[in-house]
């Protein structure tokens, strides 16, 4: 009776050849998946490989998008109309797909009814879908693959499903890598765009500051000149003299603020001229202290000056250093309550002159301390803040310090106060 073993041997050979074909298909897939990162091209490649591996005449692949709307989105379909494949994907309930993904379970058409929404089952039958398989990678459900029946014969057996499961594992990892890489590229693009936008804004800000000179300072100078000549005239009624005086005073304040803005613009463009000469820094600071003392005392804050007895001779731009100190003292008076003690201190560390402005006020919260030198910023940025000004003082002070190769830093402790420290190199005692 030789016929029976012959049939078995032929069948065994056919199965072995079929197994070899599937293993070759998996091996090809592993090489082809490194070809590119275009998700749609990858989906094409994956579906054609699976169709060739199993002999299926139709297939489709959907991916789950990010975000709350987690309905699968069709990437590619072969042998089925795009419209029907779209509709099929849209009917798949996210939680059902999630459950399949967690089980890594390939559903045969006989199980559709029990696991899927009736609309999905109806469309899958209409399109003659035989298998629905979740795509997963590193524990995450990424999408779904559908395959039609084998064009050449009997339903898929365990051998075909084993090979499919192995392929799906590789496909999941490849799609996830491609998605992550694409996201990285997109994030980089958005960062680059944001950076370009910031550069444009910075250029616009510089143009605006340059225009201030002509558009605001010129008419303000004319107003001040006319107000001064009115004030100089004799025989004016008291009320007119008083009102003119107020207008003149406020115009001068406005002009000083404007000049600070212009200086700031010049400093940020690197075009601010410096006038550096050797001189006694102690003397300059003492003169400044004596000039500021009355106003600060009048505002019910204490101003103290501490400096070594001996002169401190160094090369510095007197006007610019005092502008920095003025910004620091202004800051201390604006943002502390009455009764605060403000100390202006001069010291020498090696060859560096240190100028400190310390207050024993409420201190600056850590999250604001990191932003305090930003331009157009104040500790309280809200529209209802109590303190006026453009928020440029400290930003300008920092720019000036850098222009003089110095450093300006701030430290603060809540309820204990703040210290602003200006370091100027090349100081030496005589």
């Amino acid at each position: 009776m030789p016929s029976r073993p012959d049939i078995d041997a032929a069948e065994a050979l056919r199965l072995a050849a079929r197994r070899e074909h599937e293993l070759l298909a998996i091996s090809e897939l592993s090489r082809e998946l490194t070809v590119g990162l275009d998700l749609y091209a990858l989906a094409d490649l994956v579906l054609l490989n699976l169709m060739g591996q199993l002999g299926a005449s139709r297939a489709a692949l959907w991916l789950l998008p990010d975000g709350s709307e987690r309905r699968p989105v069709l990437l590619r379909s072969h042998g089925m109309s795009r419209r029907m494949a779209d509709a099929l994907g849209a009917t798949v309930a996210p939680d059902a797909l999630q459950a399949l993904g967690e089980e890594r379970r390939i559903l045969g058409s006989g199980e559709f009814q029990a696991r899927l929404h009736p609309a999905t089952v109806a469309l899958a039958r209409r399109e003659e879908i035989e298998l629905l398989a979740p795509l997963t990678s590193r524990g995450e459900t990424l999408g779904l693959v559908a395959l039609g029946p084998g064009a050449g014969g009997p339903p898929y057996g365990p051998m075909e499903l084993d090979a499919l499961q192995a392929s799906l594992g590789m496909i999941g990892v490849a799609l996830q890598n491609a998605t992550l890489y694409n996201r990285l590229l997109e994030n980089n693009r958005q960062l680059r765009m944001a950076n370009e936008e910031l550069t444009d804004l910075d250029r616009l800000k510089s143009e605006f500051l340059r225009n201030l000179n002509h558009e605001l300072r010129t008419p303000l100078t004319v107003i001040i000149a006319y107000l001064s000549s009115v004030e100089d005239q004799g025989g004016l009624p008291d009320t007119v003299r008083e009102f003119t005086g107020v207008c003149l005073e406020e115009s001068k304040k406005l002009k000083a603020m404007l000049e600070n803005l212009l200086d700031f613009g010049a400093a940020t463009r690197g075009s601010l001229p410096l006038d550096i000469r050797r001189g006694d820094l102690t003397l300059a600071l003492r003169a400044y202290y004596e000039e500021r003392l009355p106003g600060i005392t009048e505002g019910l804050r204490e101003l103290v000056f501490e400096a070594p007895e001996a002169p401190l001779t160094t090369a510095f731009d007197r006007h610019r250093v005092l502008q920095i100190v003025d910004a620091l003292v202004d800051n201390a008076t604006k943002f502390t309550p009455r009764g605060t003690r403000i100390t202006l201190r001069l010291a020498v560390e090696g060859e560096t002159a240190i100028v400190e402005v310390e207050d024993d006020g409420p201190g600056i919260p850590p999250e604001r301390l990191t932003q305090i030198f930003g331009s157009f910023r104040q500790g309280d940025g809200s529209p209802t803040r109590e303190v006026g000004g453009l928020g440029l003082g400290l930003a300008f002070a920092l720019e000036l310090a850098h222009r003089m190769n110095g450093r300006l830093t701030a430290s603060s402790e809540l309820s204990r106060g703040s210290i602003f420290r200006l370091s100027l190199p090349s100081a030496a005692r005589d």
């Binding site: 070809v35 054609l48 169709m51 060739g52 297939a59 064009a151 050449g152």
Partner: protein, 113 residues
Amino acid sequence: MAEPLEVVSGVHGVIVRVVGRLDAKSVPALLAQCADVRASGRNLIVNLSRVEFIASSGVGTLLSVAEEFRKAGRTVRFASPSTPVLTVIQLLNLEPFLPIDSSEEEAERALPA
């Protein structure tokens, strides 16, 4: 080096001759060419006599093309497949689904007029 695809106009359809390897690298061009023929409303003969190697993605492409033409109500015939192609078609029992002819001429005769 020969072009991977040669396209000529036949009597009752378009003939596309595949040359060399039919794999992930060459299937996009074949798919696009077949889609053009289908969109033009003409029938198609794919000559596979000079295919030296066919990958799974190549087999998948033949299946996809056959199914798309069937759904569009058009005819596609596969002429004189080389040994590597014929081997895999027989292994997967795809002969009933992929209509095969021994030559381009025979395929031409099988196309509807």
